[in-house]
């Protein structure tokens, strides 16, 4: 019946939201949304659900490569810093050690590697996720608050190229979750 009331359009609505009680239901539902060809959709779970990435068809993230690059940058900076300060800008001899001596430079180079890589991991993760994003239409839904507690959600955005107010709702209703909720944009 709600189907024939106000329908969302790309401008006025964020999209649809549907909730599930169990991981099994969510996984089956996600696979069906994926197979239906949607691209601008998401699942929302209170914890990492193994197998969901495959059920949603998410491709591996590039984060490891970013972190590797960050680490290499750290090593280079660590070595250059030590070379510049102790061997180039103000060379001085101490305790009979060479001016530029790799063994003594390894600890700092190592720590800089880890520091740069770790910062890249956190910042890279947030940047790829477009976080922080304090205001988001989904936060307006009351039921959605349980996504951080014990319920599992699937949302499909109205911006999805194959989004259709009627057909998408029908698909979501057939998944066996709660009543489909329309999230205002």
């Amino acid at each position: 019946m709600s189907r024939h009331q106000k329908q969302p359009d790309a401008g006025g609505s964020y999209g649809y939201l549907v909730a599930f009680d169990s991981v099994e239901q969510l996984l089956q539902a996600a696979a069906r949304v994926r197979d239906a060809g949607y691209t601008r959709w998401d699942a929302h779970t209170p914890f990492v659900v193994h197998g969901l990435d495959a059920a949603m068809g998410i491709r591996p993230t590039i984060l490891p490569y970013l972190v590797f690059t960050g680490g290499l940058t750290g090593t280079t900076c660590g070595i250059l810093l030590q070379w510049f300060t102790n061997a180039h800008d103000y060379p001085f001899l101490i305790s009979g050690k060479p001016i530029f001596s790799l063994p003594a430079n390894i600890p700092v180079a190592f720590e800089m590697t880890i520091l740069f890589a770790a910062l890249t991991a956190l910042v890279g993760m947030l940047a790829l996720n477009l976080l922080p994003q304090l205001a988001h239409p989904l936060h307006g839904s009351r039921s959605f608050k349980r996504a951080t507690d014990d319920r599992f959600f699937i949302s499909i955005e109205a911006r999805d190229p194959i989004f259709d107010p009627v057909a998408t709702r029908e698909l979501l209703e057939s998944l066996g979750g709660s009543a489909v909720e329309e999230v205002p944009g």
């Binding site: 991981v23 720590e111 770790a118 304090l134």
Partner: protein, 486 residues
């Protein structure tokens, strides 16, 4: 809770050894909401009076420490007991002690993660918090030891009025980088893991202030699986980075001693031996903190007896490693054929600091032996007392290393005996105040158990896949016969 009328011990015992099934990690409950309610409940319920009392006491101790530091700065380093030949006294002992404490947090959050030890989820947040507070305490001591602490920034490679750079061939500078990196990485690992749980607190907030603060802290987390995907990868990468980092930090701390040529300091086993000792003391501190917290906030169904038993086992294992290092050092001191080496070790065991040495051996090697017995491993009182003794022993280990070697140098004419002053003792005691102040704030305002991670290892999260990694199943069946566990 109503559980007090039932035999709580039987209810909470999941330590039985049946290799046919994995023990449950959350007892008596299968629904995710239980975890949310229990953990958030700690933060959301009105502050108990006992918290205020504890907090006031901790704050007082912190005040004592800052008073002592003020006295030190205004008067001079002579208020401490350090003197020629023992130029490194309490401050360095305390520094190594506190840095070591932190290591258990990283072991639990990173190394046990890589080893797929799913039981870590109940205690990792807690231990990571402890890491950060311990590193804060540790950082203070070298900072106030440098003498002119107003120019402590000379430690960092920033241009300064001397127009000189720090000496990168000095292990003390490696320490600055190692501990600095460690503090930073621990903090971001801790914070990142907390984002989903902060979002939970945001979504449960009943006041506008809580909603706003937790909302900002959780960065707008909306539990999206596309986010979780990268979050998990970032977590894995941070764990893989923190693992060598934690080894390097205490190795670098050990370099402070071992690159010198002082007998008893210059020995090649120091790096791994310091790391084992650090994890040993850190686990002891986790146990010291977790047993009362678990009791006070009634978290026994999430931090179960099995978790504590596992921690006892780790204390036993690392205690044995430390014991092996002690005996190897002793043996090689004799084997080296070097008179100074063998003298140093005989002096440790029978010289003027023999009392400290034997406290160390008793607490670090003898006491953990009780954990060979399962009854001791599952007896909370025994475990708690043993954990405190181990902390005492590990503090004395650093004391023995620092003081006994310095007080008996190569030259008998420059021998001496180090006595700490009351200022030394009060500063050290005050650092516990700071540690507990931070800890109590953490317990009050942040989720002390990683809810999202605990939920992820519950059977309902594993969608019925048998043997999913480290599968911990059969909760329902276990609950059915909860009465008969003893």
């Amino acid at each position: 809770m109503s559980a007090t009328t039932v035999d709580t011990r039987a209810l909470l015992d999941n330590t039985t050894d049946d290799p046919r099934r994995r023990a449950p990690l959350v007892l008596n409950h299968t629904e995710f909401g239980f975890v949310t309610d229990t953990v958030c409940g700690v933060v959301e319920r009105t502050t108990p009076r006992s918290w205020y009392i504890a907090f006031a006491a901790a704050l007082l101790m912190t005040g004592v420490m800052f008073a002592m530091i003020t006295y030190l700065i205004t008067t001079g380093i002579g208020v401490w007991g350090i003197q020629v030949p023992v130029g490194w006294g309490f401050a360095i002992v305390n520094f190594v002690f506190w840095v070591g404490i932190g290591h258990a947090g990283t072991l639990i959050s990173a190394i046990l993660f890589l080893l797929r030890q799913k039981w870590r989820t109940s205690i990792n947040r807690f231990a990571e918090g402890m890491t950060i507070f311990a590193v804060v305490c540790a950082g203070i001591f070298p900072g106030i030891h440098v003498g002119r602490m107003w120019v402590a920034y000379w430690l960092f490679p920033v241009p300064n009025q001397m127009q000189m750079w720090p000496n990168f061939r000095s292990p003390l500078l490696w320490d600055v980088f190692a501990v600095g990196t460690y503090a930073t990485v621990s903090l971001l690992f801790w914070y990142m893991g907390m984002i989903p749980d902060l979002a939970t607190l945001r979504d449960r907030a009943t006041t506008r202030l809580r909603w706003f603060v937790y909302g900002v802290l959780s960065l707008g987390w909306r539990s999206s699986n596309r986010h979780w995907h990268r979050f998990e990868m970032a977590y894995l990468l941070l764990a893989a980075l923190a693992t060598p980092l934690v080894l390097s930090v205490h190795s670098v701390v050990s370099f402070d001693f071992a690159v010198s040529i002082i007998p008893g300091w210059h020995t090649t086993i120091f790096p791994p031996y310091f790391v084992a000792g650090a994890i040993f003391s850190g686990f002891a501190m986790v146990v010291t903190l977790v047993i009362p917290t678990r009791h006070f906030f009634k978290l026994g169904e999430i931090i179960t007896l099995r978790h504590l038993e596992n921690m006892s086992k780790i204390m036993l294992a690392t205690g044995m490693m430390v014991g092996l290092a002690y005996s190897t050092e002793f043996f090689i001191a004799w084997y080296s054929g070097n008179a100074y080496e063998s003298f140093t070790f005989l002096n440790r065991a029978f010289g003027p600091y023999a009392w400290a040495y034997w406290i160390m051996v008793t607490c670090n090697v003898v006491v953990p032996q009780i954990f060979w017995s399962k009854r001791m491993r599952t007896n909370l009182v025994v475990m708690w007392i043993a954990s405190i003794l181990i902390n005492v022993g590990m503090w004395f280990e650093r004391f023995v290393i620092v003081v006994s070697s310095l007080s008996r140098d190569y030259l008998p004419t420059s021998w001496g005996y180090y006595r700490p002053t009351i200022i030394d003792v009060l500063t050290f005691a005050g650092s516990f105040g700071l540690f507990f102040t931070l800890f109590l704030l953490f317990v009050r305002f942040l989720p002390i158990i990683g809810m999202a991670e605990v939920k992820g290892v519950m059977p309902a999260a594993l969608h019925g896949e048998p043997g999913h990694g480290d599968y911990h199943g059969d909760v329902v069946e276990r609950v059915g016969r909860r009465g008969g566990a003893r």
